[in-house]
């Protein structure tokens, strides 16, 4: 840089000398000099004008931004319950706690914001200046003031050095936060070693190739009189750098294959692990423990109701759902029949609101009237009736066939425990059986290196063994540390607000905690005997159980 600046200064000095010399040479032709002076003056004034314009725009933008950034009313803990859309159930537990360094963060943010603004302003001015000066000098001397090839060549080298040191800094500073080497699950340790192997290999390749790229750019930059080497191909070299990556990648694949097997085949036949159902919905999670009988009861989306949020096949609830649905269909039907009347009364309301000059009420009523007029309301009601009728039909068909009935209503669901937190036992294999109510979600437990999509209508599962209790993890990572299960597949408005606390404890602690939780439904006093055949499989849904069996068979093969 220095070099180029010096060069530039030299060029400018030479230019001035030439300028004076030329003027002396043509001193006798006064008119010509004046005209050339004017033309030069013109270019300079134009550029000054341009600069002033840019500065003005920047000033205007700055004042605009400074007005818009409301520094005095910074709200950090301003998230009351109203601002977050409250779902039907589930996320009430998530209470936002303001981070402790709020004030410091704010100050940093404000400072950064202003320095950003300043930076951009300076940048634009510098660029404009550089451009104008170089253009001007180029115009006057007829030669490019800077040998841009040389400048760029040096920046290439500087970029390489700065870039590599920045990379090293990133590895050291931000790499510290990376979840590596501290896995809290059994397969996590294997995962981490796989990751480290890949990391080391790729880092080596990264450093070498980037160095070559930028060094070659620097070293073989254009020089006058230099001619490039005519070297079109070298088969041996090409074969060499085809085979080496191929070998390295094959090794990586083999190792990756082992790791993958250790993750997905942790419990192939599903006998070694405890089953816990993870239920995802917009926007929250529930965990369902099997309860005393150790069997997860059957659940189905058709049985979901206000009281039975997971849709367990609990007969009294299902019966009351049927009643509810029938009532809802009737009321929909009535609403459908009453549409003309509703329209009239709405029109009357609108007139009243118009008389009252109530703009807000007017617009909301008008919207409703439009909805009825264009048939949306009618369509909605019809669709709703159709949907509920279908649901009733489906529930009825389950109850009609004794064999199907027996697979659904197994009574195993009565003692199931539905919780908002997930408590797992250390060093005990656990299988999550995922079920989604509505959208594809993804359950991600980053500290356990575990993730699986939760797909509606398609049961998925993930088996792993936690190896570190929350207490141990807190000792390592600080007292604020908690394990969480995050949603990692875009699932709607509050996707970011969908997580579940995970606690790893000893068996006794988990048992004690489960005792404090209420079973989903209180067991009825007289338990009706259920054929043992239907109790064998603990899958959540009967129709899925067959799927699971086929999957297991496939896996075994």
């Amino acid at each position: 840089m220095n070099c180029s600046k010096l060069q530039q200064c030299r060029k400018i000095v030479i230019f001035f000398l030439q300028f004076i010399k030329n003027n002396n040479k043509f001193a006798h032709d006064l008119k010509k000099t004046i005209s050339s002076f004017y033309s030069r003056m013109n270019t300079i004034t134009k550029n000054i004008f341009k600069l002033a314009l840019v500065a003005g725009i920047i000033f205007f933008a700055a004042s605009l931004i400074s007005k818009s950034v409301d520094i005095h009313q910074l709200k950090v803990d301003g998230y009351s319950a109203e601002t977050i859309e409250k779902p039907l159930f589930g996320t009430d537990e998530i209470v936002y706690e303001a981070p402790k360094e709020v004030a410091a963060n704010d100050a940093v943010a404000t400072r950064v914001k202003w320095s950003l603004l300043l930076f951009v302003i300076i940048l634009i001015m510098v660029i404009a200046n550089a451009f104008d000066i170089s253009a001007l000098t180029a115009k006057l001397t007829g030669k490019q003031a800077i040998n841009s090839n040389n400048v760029n060549k040096w920046i290439m080298l500087i970029f390489l050095v700065v870039g590599l040191s920045a990379t090293a800094w990133e590895y050291a500073v931000h790499g510290k936060h990376a979840l590596l080497g501290n896995a809290s699950s059994e397969h996590g340790a294997i995962y981490d070693s796989m990751f480290n192997i890949t990391l080391i290999l790729t880092t080596i390749v990264f450093v070498i190739t980037q160095i070559l790229l930028f060094y070659f750019s620097f070293r073989y930059a254009k020089k006058d009189g230099q001619k490039a080497l005519y070297y079109a191909h070298n088969n041996r070299l090409e074969v060499f750098w085809t085979i080496i990556p191929a070998i390295v990648l094959t090794l990586l694949v083999l190792r990756g294959h082992q790791t993958w097997r250790s993750i997905v085949y942790a419990d192939v036949d599903g006998t070694k692990s405890t089953n816990i159902e993870i239920f995802a919905f917009q926007f929250g999670w529930n965990a369902r423990y099997a309860g005393d009988d150790g069997i997860l009861g059957v659940a189905d989306y058709k049985f979901i109701s206000g009281k039975n949020k997971l849709g367990l096949a609990y007969e009294p609830e299902v019966d009351s759902l049927v009643v509810e649905l029938k009532a809802a269909i009737l009321s929909d039907q009535q609403a459908l029949d009453n549409l003309p009347k509703t329209l009239e009364s709405l029109k009357a309301d609108w007139q009243a609101a118009k008389d009252m000059q109530d703009q807000e009420a007017m617009s909301s009523i008008k919207k409703e009237i439009e909805e009825i007029n264009c048939g949306d309301r009618k369509d909605d009601l019809n669709a709703s009736i159709k949907r509920k009728t279908k649901q009733l039909e489906r529930i009825a068909s389950i109850k009609k066939d004794p064999a199907v009935y027996a697979t659904y209503f197994t009574k195993a669901e009565e003692d199931d425990i539905v919780t908002q937190e997930l408590h797992l036992v250390k060093n005990k294999l656990v299988t999550f059986k995922f079920r989604s109510r509505d959208i594809i979600h993804s359950a991600w437990l980053p500290h356990f290196r575990a993730q699986m999509n939760v797909v509606p209508g398609m049961p998925t599962r993930f088996t792993f063994m936690p190896t570190k209790t929350t207490k141990e993890a807190k000792a390592e990572n600080g007292p604020d540390f908690e394990y969480y299960l995050y949603c990692n597949k875009i699932c709607g408005t509050s996707h970011y607000n969908m997580k579940m606390k995970v606690v790893i404890e000893s068996q006794e602690e988990v048992d004690a905690w489960l005792k404090t939780q209420q079973p989903a439904f209180k067991p009825m006093p007289a338990v009706i005997a259920v054929p043992a055949v239907y109790l064998k499989d603990s899958a959540t849904m009967t129709k899925d159980s067959s799927k699971n069996i086929t999957k297991k068979k496939l896996a075994l093969r």
Binding site: K390, K543, S546, K547, T550
Partner: protein
């Protein structure tokens, strides 16, 4: 192609750019139907595993359309032969017969859908198992859309043939018509066999 062939000016007309364009279009729509068929396969696999896959007889009209499309292809081929033999005054009528067959195909398809609806199988499935019917609708409708395109092509072909623009030395257009029309015929027969056996 090496440099030695650059002076070769006897390249067959079949490889004129326009013919290649139609072949590429055929490749593209084949991919579309492959996507449909693989989706069908996957769904069928899932469905059979859950005992939720309805196997039903394809409407008789679909087989009829296959016959019609075979006849139309025959006439199309005759038209092409006529053009090759420079029998130019026969081309418009042969193409028109092909077009009429095409329209008959459309009508037959339409009755095929009516047949399905009579049996209570609609586009929107009421039961999980009935999703097989949805597939039949979508696949046949996509083919139907292709046939419409073919009919337009044929109409243009008839107009050109009537202006005597299709002859021994200008086979490009009729070649395009022929290729596309045969493709549609073969495609329908393959789809039908796929839906029948799969």
């Amino acid at each position: 192609m090496s440099s030695s062939t650059i002076q070769n000016n006897t390249t067959p007309k079949e490889f004129s750019p326009k013919t290649v364009i139609i072949w590429l279009l055929i490749v593209a729509s084949t991919m579309l139907f492959l996507a449909f068929c693989s989706a069908y396969f996957v769904h069928q696999g899932d469905g059979l595993r859950n005992n939720a896959w309805l196997k039903f007889d394809l409407p008789f009209e679909f087989w009829l359309s296959a016959g019609i499309v075979l006849i139309s292809s025959f006439f199309m081929q005759m038209a092409y032969r006529a053009a090759q033999k420079d029998d130019i005054y026969k081309i418009p009528s042969l193409l028109t017969i092909t077009l009429i067959c095409g329209i008959a195909f459309c009508i037959s398809q339409f009755y095929g859908w009516l047949n399905l609806m009579d049996r209570g199988l609609f586009l929107s499935n009421k039961e999980p198992a009935e999703i097989s019917a949805s597939f039949v609708y979508v696949i046949s409708a996509a083919h139907f859309a292709h046939i419409i395109g073919g009919l337009i092509l044929l109409t243009v072909g008839i107009a050109r043939a009537s202006k005597l623009q299709i002859h021994k030395k200008n086979l490009v257009f009729i070649n395009i018509c022929k290729t596309y029309w045969h493709f549609l015929g073969i495609l329908w027969i393959l789809l039908l066999l796929f839906l029948y056996f799969a």
